[in-house]
């Protein structure tokens, strides 16, 4: 299971070093110095023996080795990243944890790639219900501000959800209100609506949740694909609290048609009573 300290370690180790001179830059600088020195003092290299004709070939071979080594390293890291994201998508959490541990152990040069990897690690932490650890990752990404705008939006949404779980309700509500007031395109709006619905269900504001249930349902359907199942599950909880069992049953059926009941409850423990009260869709494959 991921801990706050473990996550902190990976955040630090994945941070790119601020050094200006590294790798190929040093090699190029060295080559330029060598060239300059030879021009300034032609006697630097002995006139006789194999060195005068061997040196250029050595430099050339050295450069080729450097380029090949760098591109191989880059290819390996990009394969590791692809494997890690695939594991997250397929919810193979153990594999994802091992891959992200390996990936984030050394610096990641590109800020968006690092942010995406840290978001992947946060997803792994949330699958373990280690919300303090995931919150630490979100805080770090918000402080560093090196992620792209869509990643930062995702971070804010996930951060608010994590804060609701860790009992920082006032901060979470303030953040959710701020996100709700923003003008967002459909897919991002759907994420915020799902979060808002979660807040309403957690805090027992069932009436608010069912007031715009149909609009939300359509938004989830349009933009969340299979994850709309989580939205339908939360809507079922809202209808159940508002004493509308028929609509709650309909939403629970749709939710379980997309996501198995165990997964729904694993992600939102608030749905456990709903699972016991309503009939899930039958999986016929």
């Amino acid at each position: 299971m991921l801990t706050v300290d473990g996550v902190e370690g990976l955040i630090v180790s994945s941070r790119p070093s601020g050094r200006l001179l590294q790798g190929s830059t040093i090699a190029l600088l060295g080559l330029s110095i060598l060239l300059g020195a030879i021009i300034a003092d032609p006697d630097l290299i002995p006139h006789h023996g194999p060195l005068p004709w061997l040196l250029p070939q050595i430099v050339l071979v050295f450069l080729i080795i450097l380029i090949v080594r760098n591109s191989k390293k880059q290819r390996n890291r990009s394969q590791l990243m692809t494997d890690a994201f695939e594991a997250v998508q397929l919810q193979q959490w153990e594999r994802a944890r091992a891959l992200f541990n390996q990936l984030l152990r050394s610096p990641i040069r590109y800020p968006t790639a690092r942010a995406e990897s840290l978001l992947g690690l946060a997803a792994v932490a949330e699958s373990d219900h280690a919300y303090e650890a995931s919150q630490r990752i979100y805080e770090c990404l918000l402080q560093e501000k090196t992620a792209d705008p869509i990643q930062l939006h995702t971070v804010r949404v996930a951060m608010a959800a994590a804060m609701l779980r860790t009992g920082q309700t006032a901060d979470a509500v303030a953040l959710i209100d701020r996100l709700s007031r923003m003008k967002l395109p459909g897919p991002l709006r759907a994420q915020v609506e799902l979060l808002q619905l979660f807040r309403e269900v957690t805090m027992g504001h069932g009436a608010d949740a069912i007031e715009c249930a149909e609009e939300r349902r359509e938004l989830f359907r349009q933009f969340l694909s299979t994850r709309a199942g989580y939205g339908y599950g939360l809507l079922a909880a809202a209808f159940d609290r508002a004493n509308s069992p028929a609509q709650a049953q309909r939403c629970w059926h749709d939710a379980t048609l997309l996501v198995p009941p165990t997964d729904l409850v694993k992600r939102f423990k608030e749905l456990d009573p709903i699972r016991q009260r309503y009939v899930a869709a039958e999986i016929r494959l």
Binding site: P52, R221, L224, S225, T226, D254, L258, L285
Partner: protein, 279 residues
Amino acid sequence: MNPSSLDLLLRRFRRHMVGIRAARIVLILVVFPCAVASVTLPELLNRRGLFLLIAAGIALWIFLLAKSFQAARQVQTGSALLSIGQLNNAETWLRRAIEHFSLSTQSKIVACQHLAVLFFQRDAHQEVVLICRELLRSHIKGLRHIWVNVRLLLADSLLMLDKVAEAYEVILPVYNIPLNLADRMKLLPVRLRCELATDQTAGSVEELCEKVQIAELLDAPRAALVHALLAEACRRQSMPAQQAFLAERARLYHDLDRLVDRYPIIAPVAYSNYPPTPE
């Protein structure tokens, strides 16, 4: 872009690709023998020659790097505009990237691939076929990810043009190589459409759970399409329970009435208001 200007652009792309490859070979054939030959020159000439060679090499390298960087930026801008649906602006940038001088074949190939995606979004499938065929002629198998994408795009467009046999032929080599998840997600709907169009539905219903798992990762319209295609395959294979389940799921993802205009093959599933109840 009219057909003649596309034809012109593709001809230019072909010329550039041949030119770039020839220039690379010439560079290697010139630089290495020069480096080796310089040692046979008298001492002073040797040093000067070597210095000139290295200085010219570095200058050329910086120039080509700047050109490649510029081309990559043009492709990046075109791709960003494409992703937000500004197709006309994206086309201008991608054209620029293809016409631009650089020794980077990759940026030209990627620009061409994005141009094919752009025409696909405009439903100009004849143009997509032309571009993809040109790309496949350009020996892009080394760039496997692009090679797979181009084949999938070409097969998709051929299916839209009802050229099923050609589509099947195009997609066949992709079956035989290990694919990553993203490519498997793109392959699944195309493969199912090919199989249904050629009535090879026994293959479509194999490993159903795995296929559904991949479909769940797609965006809503494509997830609906894959579910509807699988439901249709189950209907043809007389698997009513699975058919009903998949059709119900498909409807939950997206409106099938809207999909059926584009993919008439799912009509039996889309228009069956009352899916058969399992026996």
